[in-house]
């Protein structure tokens, strides 16, 4: 026993170093569990509070820009309102857009774009009705999916995430669906894969969300095609996509609440049970 204590005293520097490093590795493996999406870390109220204070200070320097953005959005909403009132025949659109989805406005308090897996911290949480797996959009297009919530904050898995996959389709071709992913390099560009060779998407073609997901409503802007990347094996091509959302300057977002989420969930559960 005495020898052990002597040993620890003599080598305390190395032993403490090893203990701390093992602790780090344990923490790392605990939190890098992508399938369960556990992010106990940034979604807590102390960290959220510091980021919010920082954002508030920063906001004073951006008031002009924020005002302009909100004014633009107001104008757009007014236009939409006018369109809805005018087109009394388009009852199908009214149903799909207004009755099933509810939009909760939120502010971005922290956002990264240059890491392999980026998350966005917003200032609304479970107290405001936000739940895991809800879609998040900005006025320009889709942004991400809620990964974790605390009472006052929520952590959103950005489109700029290694494991982010969004079901999309070409706006001018309702049938052709594809998957939108990010290749970890530039925060302005992602790519879609699974394009059959007979299809020739042109630069500038618009990509919108498909109807195969209840996270995002159909027809939301996702991005535009920049170029077609021919696959070397000549089977399914890829296309480089420019995101319509500028992730570098994200400020105001909307969380999409599906009013029948519980119903859909229970149906999915039932299906899984039958299989």
């Amino acid at each position: 026993m005495y020898n052990l204590i002597r040993f620890i005293q003599k080598h305390h520097f190395v032993i403490l170093f090893l203990v701390l490093e093992v602790l780090c590795v344990v923490l790392l493996t605990l939190t890098q569990d992508f399938h369960r999406q556990r992010r106990i870390n940034t979604t807590n109220d102390i960290v959220g509070g510091v980021y919010e204070t920082g954002t508030r200070i920063g906001d004073y320097f951006r008031l002009g820009k924020i005002n302009r953005e909100l004014a633009e959005e107001n104008a757009m909403l007014r236009r939409q309102l006018a369109v809805t009132i005018d087109t009394t025949t388009g009852y199908q659109e009214v149903i799909s857009a207004d009755t099933v989805y509810n939009f909760i406005p939120a502010r971005v308090v922290n956002n990264t774009v240059n890491r392999p897996n980026n998350y966005i911290l917003i200032d609304k949480g479970s107290n405001d009705g936000i739940r895991k797996d809800m879609g998040v959009i900005s006025t320009d297009g889709i942004v991400g999916i809620v990964a974790d919530v605390s009472p006052h904050y929520a952590s959103v898995m950005s489109l700029l995430h290694t494991y982010s996959t969004i079901s999309v389709r070409f706006k001018n071709d309702e049938e052709q669906i594809a998957t939108l992913r990010w290749d970890n390099t530039n925060h302005r560009y992602g790519y879609i894969d699974g394009i059959p060779t007979h299809l020739k998407p042109q630069p500038g073609d618009t990509i919108v969300t498909s109807s195969f997901s209840y996270i995002f409503p159909e027809n939301l802007m996702a991005g535009t095609v920049v170029e077609l990347v021919k696959s070397p094996s000549g089977t399914l091509n890829k296309a480089k996509i420019k995101y319509s959302t500028n992730f570098g300057a994200l400020k105001n977002v909307y969380v999409i609440q599906h009013t029948n989420m519980a119903e859909i969930d229970s149906l999915n559960q039932l299906q899984l049970g039958n299989e």
């Binding site: 701390l20 780090c24 790392l28 998350y119 390099t185």
Partner: protein
């Protein structure tokens, strides 16, 4: 006591600067400057080993909490703290200086500090980006990030140290 308060204030200021200011620098996605390393670099040279390690681990862990990378910064800063005595020995060579003080840019000279900062930043960035790269299977990108981020961090750290060196000199006299 005075030295402890100075270091606590430095800790808080550096975390805030890193999290709210420096982390928003984005140039093409490969530049990640980490200036909070100044905290570990400026601890007194003769600080007991366990204090050095716990300081490094502590600031790394706080950064991790803010950036949602639990374990990565802590692992990198702990290794950096562990290597610090050896780095100081290698960088100094036969140079003689006051062991009881904090390393100071006016006292030890620019060349010494450049070598010191480069070594410390390299150990940190290498560990951090490798941990990040291996966790996400992106080793080539991790190497690129190291290659670009080390000079940027070193430059920023030296600029900050120069900007505040006059003030620190006054503090040491007290």
């Amino acid at each position: 006591m005075n030295r402890v308060t100075t270091n606590i204030i430095r800790f808080i200021v550096l975390v805030v600067v890193q999290v709210l200011l420096i982390n928003h620098i984005r140039l093409g996605g490969y530049v990640h400057p980490y200036v909070y390393l100044i905290f570990v670099m400026l601890l007194p040279i003769n600080i007991p080993g366990w204090q050095l390690l716990l300081s490094g681990f502590g600031i790394g862990l706080v950064l991790d909490l803010f950036m949602g990378t639990l374990g990565m910064h802590a692992g990198a800063t702990t290794l950096m703290a562990f290597c610090r005595p050896a780095i100081i020995r290698i960088v100094s060579g036969s140079m003689k200086f006051d062991q009881t003080k904090e390393p100071h840019i006016n006292q030890l000279g620019f060349a010494w500090f450049l070598r010191y900062t480069l070594c410390m930043v390299f150990v940190h960035n290498f560990t951090y980006f490798m941990l990040e790269g291996f966790s996400f299977h992106l080793v080539v990108q991790a190497l690129l990030r190291i290659l670009i981020s080390v000079p940027v961090s070193t430059f920023l750290i030296l600029v900050i140290l120069y900007l505040f060196s006059r003030e620190k000199k006054g503090k040491n006299k007290n």
